[in-house]
Symmetry: C2
Subunit: 338 residues, 2 copies
DNA sequence: TTTCAATGTACACTCGTATGTACTATTTAT
DNA sequence: ATAAATAGTACATACGAGTGTACATTGAAA
């Protein structure tokens, strides 16, 4: 308790500067004629008192809340944290701070979000229902969605950002084929949740399309999915390698999956890259520290983050959303070098 | 543009339920006698309209803003993102959302933060000045600081949380000594910023104390710091190994540093763990995927996150801050197994 | 001199919510 | 029967800021 520093308000500034509150407001927002002398006095008072307009009051009065919400499903991913980190950098310069939360799949969550008056929202979660995106956009909030699924319905007043999952996957698969692989398998994530879903994101689509456009068949034998644990995944990869299907290329949904698969392969005597090539996705730090070093696909995180903030900023300013697509960079390391 | 969904306000609910706004308020906050019948009608109306009190207005009127700010210096660290992710889980259940930002070392940043009326703040940044912590606390905001430096001044109304850096480091060093190491070196981070600072965090303190309490000398030859790049770091480690100092143990400030050092060692023919033992810090994913697998120190991230939220919650409720210390778990993998 | 534009100021209302206070109607105690 | 306690309601104000509108002053143009 004790005298927990009373807030400095507009009134305090006005009193110190010897002007009316209105003048202070005009100076702060710089949107009316104000006498030079008074302006200076106000500015001085602001500095002396270290005044800053209360964000809540501003937001309430219809101004911005200066907050952007980032909704993800696995905040822990290095990929997400990089994006958020970069977004923070750019956003701060435009006066925004970033809020962050894991996707909660409930209506309460949505009204939570709406009641908080975010100026803009970034959705980077495969499990965030379109329905909710619509509600947010319908409430007048600019929304940028990172594309995850293939057939993502176009929603009014929502910008769709292609972060490179699809093209990156195609490039990765093409890279394996270029290296001579004839039997490439796709290794999907570990499903911790009860239900086993077939791979449905754009990486998988890219895999399928690139395989087929090179006249390779894609069938159940070329997809590893639904594993419930790291061990199960490793065992399944080994099974594929041991059978007569002659698997000679592995595309992992992300670097960690690729690493697990790679380790599984070497454990039963397969050499990487001589017997089997492996490529991951994300260019996360493990891809640089595992052994052999993992080839991978790098998304343009900085550019994505920058563009996202820029786009939101424009939409907040009233401009129409526009979709953007980013390409990726293939990083060749030892796991595919022949 | 167009009819961007008008906000649902208390007035709408009141009209639909056929009661006064005041009644709606009482029902929402559940703090006054309200007729059963009217209460039900209000609740029904709330449900129908999907009403939720506007957060800004509430915060302005002196209620909570339901927001907690997390200030870090390197959001990208897996350690931070894990903590934030867990905090998000616990905090959400208490009605909070987490904001996240990188430490900006300016007075403007502080007034930014204050003007946003956060209910609580977590500081996990070695470079965040005590002065600022004081200002925040002085403004009446509960603050929890994750201890990073050794002699951290006690600040009124601020809780200090020991996340295990010190004890974890001591345990790691003791582990190396137990494994027979007689010449252990500490490898500090890569300093990207211009100025090269000597290691000053609690991990280093733990290293020094544990060494000395085992009668080992700590001198310049046992500290690698100030390297400007990964290559420089690797080269410096190799130099230490090649000289006659018989380095047989490496304690890396974090897993990535330890990995770089370990790789540097194996490149010049040192075997890990036979010739030199290596241990890292953080139990990040690379420690599990590098080769050989890295022994490391695991902090109790979940418990830390949970306790942080709990503590903030109590402080927000008016209780006195209390300091808490967490211990760590040593995870022995192949890089120290003999 | 009159007229009008430009410049500069301040009142009063508003955003959506919380709540002290006062008031009425009803019940209980005396 | 009267007093006092309780249940239930509503008014009015406050939180801190933004801004429409009206008003005052000045200078220049007519």
């Amino acid at each position: 308790m004790s005298d927990a520093g009373k807030r400095v308000t507009r009134a305090d500034v006005a009193k110190l500067a010897g002007v009316s509150e209105t003048i202070v407001s005009y100076v702060i927002n710089n949107n009316r004629y104000v006498d030079k002398d008074k302006r200076l006095r106000v500015e001085e008072a602001v500095r002396m008192l270290n005044y800053r307009p209360n964000n809540m009051a501003r937001a309430l009065k219809g101004k911005r809340s200066n907050q952007i919400l980032f909704i993800a499903d696995h905040i822990t991913n290095e990929y997400f944290s990089s994006i958020v980190s970069e977004m923070d950098r750019y956003a701060y310069d435009s006066g925004y701070l970033i809020s962050l939360c894991a996707n909660r799949n409930t209506p309460e969550f949505i009204s939570q979000v709406i009641s908080r008056q975010y100026d803009g929202i970034v959705v980077s979660s495969a499990s965030f229902p379109d329905k909710y995106v619509e509600q947010l956009a319908g409430a007048g909030i600019p929304v940028v969605v990172f594309r995850r699924r293939r057939h993502q319905r176009k929603i009014e007043r929502v910008a769709l950002l292609g972060t490179g999952l699809y093209t990156g996957a195609r490039n990765a698969v093409r890279h394996l084929i270029d290296r001579g692989c004839r039997n490439v398998i796709y290794v999907d994530r570990i499903s911790v949740k009860g239900h086993i879903s077939p791979p449905d994101d754009l990486r998988f689509s890219g895999f399928v399309d690139e395989m087929e456009s090179n006249d390779f068949q894609v069938g159940p034998e070329s997809i590893v999915c639904g594993c419930r644990s790291q061990e199960e995944l490793a065992e399944e990869v080994r099974r594929r390698l041991r059978t007569g299907s002659k698997v000679d290329g592995i595309f992992g949904r992300n670097d960690m999956i690729a690493c697990i698969a790679m380790t599984a392969a070497t454990q039963i005597g397969f050499r990487v890259p001589e017997d089997v090539c492996v490529i991951g996705f994300d260019d996360s730090s493990i891809s640089r520290f595992c052994s052999p070093k993992l080839s991978t696909v790098s998304m343009k995180k900085e550019e994505i983050a920058c563009a996202t903030v820029e786009l939101l900023n424009q939409m907040i300013g009233g401009k129409q959303p526009k979709d953007i697509d980013f390409d990726t960079t293939l990083i060749e390391r030892d796991s595919t070098r022949r």
